[in-house]
């Protein structure tokens, strides 16, 4: 049960984020929602990287007996690499969204989605 807590947290974070995107009227709050979804997905990836009894895959700082006796005990650093990449991408998307919001505020004078409706149906 205790091992499942991160996964529960992942699901809860994704749903909180989706709630914010779907039901909040303020553009900035929608962006915060997307950020929360992203954190949830990153948490999911990093949780997958945990292996019980594994050794951190940093060759120079691994305990010497682990390197000698069980070379396979170092975990594969793929999830960590994925998470780093996804964080970097997330920052780029966040910056772009916030700059768009700035421009939208200049044009419309509001951040309320109900009033930003110049596009026709």
């Amino acid at each position: 049960m205790i091992y499942n807590i991160p996964f529960i947290a992942v699901v809860v974070m994704i749903f909180i984020g989706l709630y914010a995107v779907l039901f909040k009227r303020n553009l900035v709050k929608m962006v915060i929602g997307i950020s929360i979804i992203e954190s949830g997905v990153n948490l999911f990836l990093i949780t997958l990287g945990y292996r019980e009894g594994g050794v951190v895959p940093i060759f120079t700082s691994a305990p010497s007996e682990a390197v000698k006796n069980a070379p396979g005990s170092m975990v594969l650093p793929v999830p960590q690499a994925l998470t780093l990449t996804s964080i970097v991408i997330g920052v780029a998307v966040l910056a772009l969204m916030l700059s768009l919001i700035m421009h939208i505020y200049k044009h419309y004078g509001t951040l309320d989605v109900r009033k930003i409706r110049r596009l026709k149906e």
Partner: protein, 524 residues
């Protein structure tokens, strides 16, 4: 090893690397002057096109080609599954990169005149090249996480390009809508990739395709992937961003954005046919419980009907074409859905061929119409159909191009739309005649929509305010003319295209086991 083999060997990464390098050189080159920059971008894309031709020739004659980054073999010592990033190129990948590069080159040539008097053009070309890079990357990669990275790049760059006319509030609104939807979609894709990694410890598409069990988590991953990628491809009911984004972006951008939508569509195909190929073939019995196939067919019929009906009531030229694009995407998915119901046999094969061929035709036909709409906007600064009229007097070449686009998009012989739509009609008639009737009726309605547009834009009395309107500059005419020539050639000789590139693409989709075998030799 002579130089030609060397280029062939390294062409998959070079196809992505050349536009990427060019993208970041463009701001430097544009310090010299504008003409040099335009030529530089065109030359770099032509080099990419040449590499694609070399790679395509090789793949179509010698079969699937892989390229592993950071080593000759996919397996470093001690590993029994591929962990390195690899590009895997088969007939389908080649087919998609050919479409992308045609759209990119024509779009760049069109942009020369269309965007001429605007500022920030160094950034414009940089972002276009990055968008092209991301599309090519999505279409060549054999690694799911790599696919996600390129998907995010395409999402960021397309959003930046949709918002390129920052002075218009509407384009910002469309761009924000687009980035919210596509970044959530991309996060779903990442979550699904995490689910795969959790079960199979792999990110390589072929490895996952080999190991797939189609358990509960795989079903969740399938739903997430299809939902996110079909949304980016603009399938109904997730099409609402598409008319906004297509309608508000500069028309030269819309043309290239159509390529980004098709790259996502390629993702759907790769996931349905390759990654879940084993699961669909073995675990799901054909036709009797084919839920996902019928779901896709139902959605595609909805897409066709909604696209056509919404196109009927539009008054904005580009939004109208965007709804027609929604309908065309419906036709592609219709072919694919029918193809999924009976993989590799009889009418299913024809339907799949028709669907794949229609990807190419949709890009060309809808693209041509967008370019014509852009030309009219360039000449008159008008997008509303109600305010136009009598333009055939001033713009005779554009009128001819529009007629070609109109007939091609509504599936009239002798243009290319007819060839692929006939394949789709003929095969879905055998599955269910009602589907074929609906599809043909929608096509006729599409013709009606565009004939209406033709009359309101080009026919009618000459309006005094358009007295000084001239034909558009030469580079735009060349771009549209090139597309028209391709459309007519494909329409007159459809067999040439079907035999040489469509057939290998369709059979590559169906034949998922050789895709797997290329990476994991010895697996049956």
């Amino acid at each position: 090893m002579n130089w030609f083999e060397l280029i062939t060997l390294h062409s998959p990464p070079l196809i992505v690397a050349v536009p990427l390098l060019a993208a970041f050189l463009t701001p430097l080159v544009s310090k010299i002057n504008d003409t040099v920059r335009n030529l530089f971008v065109l030359i770099m894309l032509s080099i990419t096109g040449l590499l694609i031709a070399i790679l395509g020739y090789d793949v179509l004659t010698n079969g699937i080609r892989t390229y592993v980054f950071g080593g000759g073999a996919p397996l470093p010592s001690g590993m029994n599954i591929p962990v390195r990033i690899m590009f895997e190129v088969d007939g389908m990948n080649i087919f998609m990169v050919i479409i992308t590069i045609i759209l990119a080159i024509v779009g760049i040539v069109y942009s020369w005149s269309f965007m001429k008097d605007q500022d920030g053009l160094d950034k414009y070309y940089t972002i276009i090249l990055l968008l092209v890079t991301s599309m090519l990357g999505m279409e060549l990669t054999g690694d799911l996480f790599n696919f996600f990275v390129f998907l995010e790049i395409s999402c960021i760059t397309s959003c930046a390009l949709i918002a390129f006319w920052v002075h218009k509030g509407e384009s910002l609104e469309a761009a924000f809508k687009y980035i919210v939807i596509s970044s959530i979609g991309a996060l779903f894709v990442l979550f699904a990739i995490g689910l795969f990694y959790a079960q199979y410890n792999a990110l390589n598409m072929a490895t996952i395709a080999n190991a797939i069990q189609f358990g509960f988590l795989d079903k969740i991953a399938l739903v997430l992937l299809i939902a996110a990628l079909a949304m980016k491809a603009g399938l109904v009911p997730m099409h609402m961003w598409l008319p906004d984004a297509y309608g508000e972006a500069p028309p030269s951008i819309t043309f290239i954005l159509a390529g980004a939508t098709l790259a996502s569509l390629y993702g759907v195909l790769r996931i349905c046919f390759t990654i879940y190929g084993n699961a669909f073939a073995n675990i799901m019995p054909v036709l009797s419980s084919a839920i996902i196939e019928w779901f896709i067919i139902a959605l595609s019929l909805a897409a066709i009907l909604i696209g056509v009906i919404m196109a009927l009531i539009q008054t904005d030229f580009k939004r109208l074409i965007a709804y027609a694009a929604v309908a065309e995407i419906g036709y592609i998915f219709l072919g694919i859905g029918v193809g999924l119901t009976s993989v590799g046999v009889g009418y299913g094969e024809i339907a799949l061929k028709g669907g794949v061929f229609h990807i190419l035709n949709d890009a060309l036909d809808i693209g041509l119409l967008f370019l014509v709409a852009g030309a009219i906007y360039y000449a008159t600064k008008e997008t509303s159909l109600d305010k136009m009229g009598g333009l055939a007097r001033n713009m005779k070449y554009t009128t001819v191009f529009f007629i070609v686009g109109l007939l091609a998009v509504s599936g009239m012989p002798p243009f290319n739309g007819f060839a692929s739509k006939l394949l789709i009609y003929e095969s879905i008639y055998q599955l269910n005649p009602i589907l074929a009737i609906v599809a043909i009726l929608a096509s006729i309605l599409l013709l009606a929509v565009f004939v209406k547009v033709f009359y309101s834009v080009f026919m009618g009395p000459a309006l005094p305010k358009f007295k000084d309107v001239k034909e558009v500059p030469r580079s735009m005419l060349i771009a549209m003319g090139a597309i028209v020539v391709i459309i007519i050639i494909f329409g007159l000789f459809p067999n040439l295209v079907i035999d040489n590139i469509v057939q290998p693409a369709a059979s590559a989709l169906v034949d998922h086991s050789s895709y797997i075998l290329k990476v994991l030799p010895g697996v049956t």
